[in-house]
């Protein structure tokens, strides 16, 4: 089924609402419209569980009156509702406090060539439903051939097509279209009282770049069965290797701590650290919204500020915070095109790869842990403290000897960044937050 787009209508709607807002007393108006279509299928034990297909639209708006802000959003795009929301927003703005730092970004002269970003794959809207269902079915089927797999959480395939339209009263009016596809599989191994589970997925903007069912199944099986028959270990301090998925997780925490919003709110341990050493020379981190065809790529942010490549950490020195327009004004910096509205979001936020193969990192480990998964909520951006439940593989003399579970890892992000001993060459951009395998000199692993 094809999405029915009415391209002109939505763009006109955005433009008209900007004018309507100005005419009803707003000093500044910003409108964003999202027009999306999604398809997803979940298959479990060979049968379809859920099949979802839908189109939906939503509109977000901001008005500023006398430096006072009001926001609104709606999934009802009828003119009466939207005009009511705009008028009400102007009224509500009067009840907020004036904020000298508020205001839309000035119109940038920079224009991003949207086609060079490879955001849209024309193959995705034309994929046949039967083919999409077959992909999920096939992936699970391959995995279930492995006798060690005892149950399945199922396999899913999904596609999304979205169109984003953005207009503001400074004269910005742009739009772009983006596609997305993802294939995932969750598995269990072992008997009910000793079961282990894991999953694997591949997500891409372009269908041809998606991992094959064989590859997704192979990784999901491997990641699940390697955890069978875990042991407990004694509490100790040991070197810890982070697999790429774990480095990504750590980078998510770093992102929260270099967010300009956290900085002006003083909820990050990296407040007032610009230009200072926050890690060793192995740590170089970028946020790059312009990488062609990557998951976090976008031509402009949620305020219409053009995307850029920002050097966040330069060989251990904190070089920049990631800011929306408001945070940038507060901190006397420039917006890095990181706005997600009142907050910030990463584009492609990554730790620059090193030169060492991941196998060599493991073989360098005399005794320690490979961290493969964490669960829980124990991250404190104010202190950088980390305390999480963890699953891992115990390593002795450079070889994996057995899996471990029921452990926690604890440490501090600041200390970890200063203690990265090795950086792998396996950066894969499989999520908007991405990093290679890394080896940390020492972390506390709590067990018995």
């Amino acid at each position: 089924m094809q999405r029915e787009t009415k391209p002109i209508e939505l763009k006109e709607l955005a433009e008209n609402l900007v004018v309507f807002g100005k005419n009803n007393g707003a000093d500044e108006v910003e409108i964003s419209i999202l027009d999306g279509y999604e398809f997803s299928v979940d298959v479990r034990l060979g049968k379809i569980e859920n099949l979802v297909e839908a189109g939906s639209r939503s509109l977000g708006l901001r008005v500023i009156k006398d430096k006072k802000n009001a926001f609104a959003s709606s999934s009802d795009l009828s003119r009466e509702t939207l005009q009511h929301l705009v008028k009400n927003a102007v009224k509500r703005a009067k009840l907020a406090s004036p904020d000298e730092f508020s205001g839309l970004p000035a119109l940038s002269k920079k224009r991003i060539d949207i086609s060079s970003l490879r955001l849209f794959d024309p193959e995705i809207p034309n994929l046949d439903s039967k083919k999409k269902i077959a992909l999920a079915t096939e992936t699970e089927k391959i995995a279930l051939k492995d006798k060690r797999i005892t149950n399945s959480h199922g396999s899913s395939f999904e596609t999304r097509e979205i169109r984003i339209i953005f207009a503001n009263s400074n004269g910005f009016l742009e739009e772009y279209e983006q596609t997305f596809c993802g294939l995932s599989l969750g598995l269990l191994a072992g008997e009910t009282d000793n079961q282990v589970e894991d999953s694997w997925s591949s997500s891409k903007l372009h269908f041809k770049e998606l991992d094959s069912p064989e590859e997704v199944a192979r990784k999901a099986v491997e990641r699940t069965v390697r955890q069978l028959k875990p042991r407990k270990i004694m509490t100790q301090k040991v070197p810890v290797i982070f697999e790429p998925t774990m480095t990504s997780w750590l980078l998510g925490f770093l992102f929260a701590c270099v967010s300009g919003v956290s900085i002006y709110q003083k909820t990050s341990f990296l407040v007032d650290k610009l230009g200072e050493r926050i890690g060793n020379e192995k740590v170089t981190v970028y946020d790059d919204g312009l990488l062609p065809g990557r998951l976090g790529t976008r031509p402009f942010d949620a305020e219409g500020v053009p995307s850029q490549k920002t050097l966040v950490v330069d060989k251990g020195i904190l070089n920049n915070y990631l800011c929306n327009t408001y945070a940038a004004r507060k901190l006397k910096l420039k917006s890095t095109g990181s706005s997600s509205g009142t907050s910030v979001s990463p584009s492609n936020f990554y730790l620059q790869a090193g030169k060492i193969a991941p196998e060599k990192i493991v073989s360098s480990l005399e005794k320690g842990l490979i961290l493969i998964r964490t669960i829980g909520h124990g991250l404190n951006p104010i202190t950088g403290d980390i305390s999480r439940g963890a699953f891992g593989l115990w390593v002795e003399k450079g070889e994996t000897v057995y899996p471990v579970s029921e452990i926690t890892i604890s440490g501090n992000l600041g200390e970890i960044l200063n203690n990265i001993e090795m950086v792998g060459n396996d950066l894969d951009f499989r999520s908007p937050l991405s990093g290679p395998t890394i080896k940390i000199k020492e972390l506390t692993v709590a067990g018995q």
Binding site: M1, R44, K47, I48, E49, N50, L51, V52, A54, G55, S56, R57, N69, A70, F71, A72, S73, S74, S75, D76, L77, E80, T81, Q83, H84, L85, A89, R92, A93, L95, A96, N151, H153, L188, T192, D193, Q195, V196, T235, Q265, K266, T267, F269, I375, G376, H377, G378, I382, T383, S387, R388, G389, S405, E406, T408, I409, S410, T444, A446, Q448
Partner: protein
Amino acid sequence: MKNLPSLAFEDHFNISPSDLQKILNISLSRGGDFSEIYLEYKIYNFINMEEDIIKETAESISLGLGIRVLSGEKTGFGYTNDLSFAKIKKAALTAASIASSRTSREASSLNPVQYQHNFYPVLESPHKESLEKKISFVKETYHSAQNFNRKIKKVKVSLLDHTQFVTILNSEGLKVSDARPLMKLACLAVAEKGNKREAGFSGGGGRVGMEYFSNLTPKEIGQDAAKEALELLEAALPPAGEMAVVLAPGHSGVLVHEAVGHLLEADFNRKKTSIFWNKMGKKVGSSQVTIYDDPTIPYFRGSYNIDDEGTIPKKTLLIEKGKMAGLLQDRLSAKLMQRPLTGHGRRQDYSSIPIPRMSNTYIDRGEHSPDEIVKSVKKGFYAHKFLGGQVEDSGKFTFSVSSGYLIENGKLTAPVKQASLIGTNIDILKNIEMIGSDLKFGLQTGTCGKEGQAVPVIDGCPTIKISRMTVGGQ
């Protein structure tokens, strides 16, 4: 133009009863067993105060419908927020396509249900209250936290209220509606001393009206957040290893939610992925442990008059004196497992498929006094407040403790921060040694996530002693 959109919410859909009946029939045109339309209209207001100013207010309107068709174990689902008959019909055909029979079925004619209960008889509906009054509550909370102590360097307060109107119609002839208010006032306070910085959190709300805040006042909420931040400034990291753990009443309810509740959701048991799937009626924990999930507790965040499939909910016994006694059911699992409905089919919104979820989950009170419990511990850890937790189907879980104390010779001593508790649910249930008589519930601010869907919940428990548990720290 009226000040607020009309609240006779079905007007917003402008779909005639005969069209709805038609849509239910179209959904069964490929021979599905069951079809359902979920109409949702939600209005939402938000106020945010930080850096001494009302930074922004927001208003949001969500209007849409979801159509679901069940065929055996399969679910077809379509949704739309474009409410033209053509688009609704398209969603119905999408959902219908899950079944593949040539014989269409007819839906029963609709028979509106009017139930007699109301678990949230609020006096002052949040959506009818003026923004000025709400702003005054926000400011009061803010200044209470800020003025509590000079070390409080930053405060952030938000007030969120929404009202969700739903109507559920299905091919069995059901037509039933609910209007659910929800409020949440939350305060974050950051205290500084030298280069140390710590945050405290407090909040309140539920399915309540504005009158709620004359009981738990904005002032108290602000003070509680400030107190916690100040106390954490003096807190040390906990020791790591296995030790006796005492769980504070109320906040520790997150443990019963994570370690037990999720794995008693029927879908995980029907699919045999939960560690509990083969344990119904069997002993799974200490005989002191009795656990309920009760969606009918007045004014609680997790309560509802009907669930999101239109079922009248029931207080559901999950664990009785250590034995597994029940599951949280939605329509699909109940039908496939041939069990009665419990009213736990919930969904985040019209664009989501209902699945079995918790509401208000708690461990029932025991017989020990809280003092007696702490006194019985020579050396251990007292978990006071939690950031949250997570569980896997295998029963392995982690809880993040934001604040606690060491227990030395039967007394609470040094304050401790940032610890993780980790274990396996069956081990913990077995290792529950004492349960207090002081059942309490946590803050009315919690949200639970499952399969990408967030729903409001709350959980509770009395003081509990667990003989051994792994604590992660330095």
